[in-house]
Amino acid sequence: MAQSQPRTRVGQPQPQPLADRLDGATAREAVPPAVAAPPTLGSAADLVAPRQRSLWGDAWRRLTRNKLAVIGLVVVVSFIAIAVLAPVLAPYGQSEVVDFRLTRTEPSWTWPLGLDQNGRDIFSRLLYGARVSLVVGVLSQGLVLLIGIPVGALAGYYGGRVDNILMRSVDVVYAIPQLLLVLIFVNLFGPGLVNIFIAIGLVGWVTEARLVRGQFLALREQEYVNAARVSGSTGWQIMLRHLLPNSLTPIIVALTFGIPTAIFTEAALSFVGVGILPPQASWGQMVGDASQPGYIQTDPYMLAAPVAAIGLTMLGFTFLGDGLRDALDVRGND
């Protein structure tokens, strides 16, 4: 069905986005650009077409045919379920000491992931840690959308001087390594869950803005947009009714990649000790706690559990994101 849609190839909106196309793999330290590595040069963002409702059903069918994407979906859904249900599932509280005499106890049937250096149940802490990750991932991306979409939309739709001013400021933010900027913001706001996701959001919107701008830039010359303009729709109406809905798929894909990046960023911050306030459990903090050389040597399970959790979540989101991109992308039918 998608094949029947008009396919438009838009040129490079501007030379800069090569870094975007390069994706999070290279800029992984930074909050990665929205769209991950496509199989060929040019990104999903380059190819857009007006879509209809049945697209989603179609996409779903394609998604479920992709084995990796299904694995990713299962991981992501379990991750969300675990995060939401953590207090119900966890046998112990996140800061509860099971037995202070049993510090650093290896995994067993009683404590499937062992007890940590304070005799706390690693399994329970891992479950609670998922909550922090989910909250940071989702809320920071919410903030990214909240700032990124309007900025990108204004720049893309109006172009000209507005575009110039907005994109120049974006360039400035972009020129600072993103993680560095997050660190500066965290330093400014102080540690803690809320401050962390705000900091991540305040840095991450830049990529989103570029993505949306590129979309709008390409779409605003489409015939149906011109038609809407001629029929007297205001700029806001056009943006909300026509441009935004048609930019939705790349935004969704970007979101799927943005969430794990935010999760990773939080973990990294907590790892260096400027993240979540302990004793609240966070995966990064668990990594930080367990990564003293002596612990790694004698009690590697303490480190293995949170590292595996972060890794698995990253994989899940990446698989799902890749799958989504392929499923939503017109080229997927090639």
Partner: protein, 312 residues
Amino acid sequence: MLRYIANRVAWFVPTILAIVALTFILLKLTPGTGIIPAGAQQISPDMIRRLEAQYGLDKPLPEQFGIYVANAVRGDFGESFAFRPQTVSSIIARTFPISLRLGAYATVFAVVVGVTLGVLAAVNQNGPLDYVSVTAAILFYSLPNFVMGFLLILLFVVLLPGRGVDLGFNIGGLESWQDWVLPTVALGAAPLATIARYTRSSVVEAIRSDYVRTARAKGLMERRVIVRHVLKNALIPVITLVGPIFAAVGTGSFFVEKVFNIPGMGPFFVDSMTAKDQPMILAVVLIYGIFLAVMNLLVDVLYGLIDPRIRY
């Protein structure tokens, strides 16, 4: 093209200035000046005021900024607050090369292994080798480098009881080549995956192209076709990846350096961040900013030269 480059270069100065200004403002918004020496058990407020006066931190902000820029232009970034009286320049001169070296190793590793994997995957399309390398690539690509670092260390610990931790951690100076192996792999894994994926699809595309079909039709040996015709064309876009990968890797090794205990700029920056070592932070931001900007420009220019579809 030249005009484009000139335009970009002309934008450097205001962009860099804006970066420094932004960082400067953000730093000034946070409480404290970072002047208190680390470990100081006792220090009177009066002493803090005097130290601040000594470093001009009591002056109005615009004046402070002006002084900073004027000095920075002359290459004087001041003394590091945390390592007084050592200068920021001397510290960066010592640590940045280490980060760059690690970045270079990781880039070389990523390119060599990535291209090899990609080409092998492409010529064995849908074969077991393809399957393995695609899976490896997506695994590498999904894992942040600090998770990768710890996975490598854990692997070593489990495989080499008693010696694994030693091989995983850098103890002090980077004296032996072993010290570089794991950090290079951890840092290079993700870009490796990107390069492998690009190479694969690029080579696959080339194999299907008309000129290759023609070459085959001419009866050329398969190996000769691959080397002469496929690789030559398919690898050009891949080459353009090296620049941004080096830029990202060279400036993006905070956590790998932290995990493996490498005395580069990464852990230094994280520490100066927490110590609020203003001169240090500003200088690091400045250097990273310039480095990234130059690399990005280089990439775009290269890209424009190679890919005729791009017009500036």
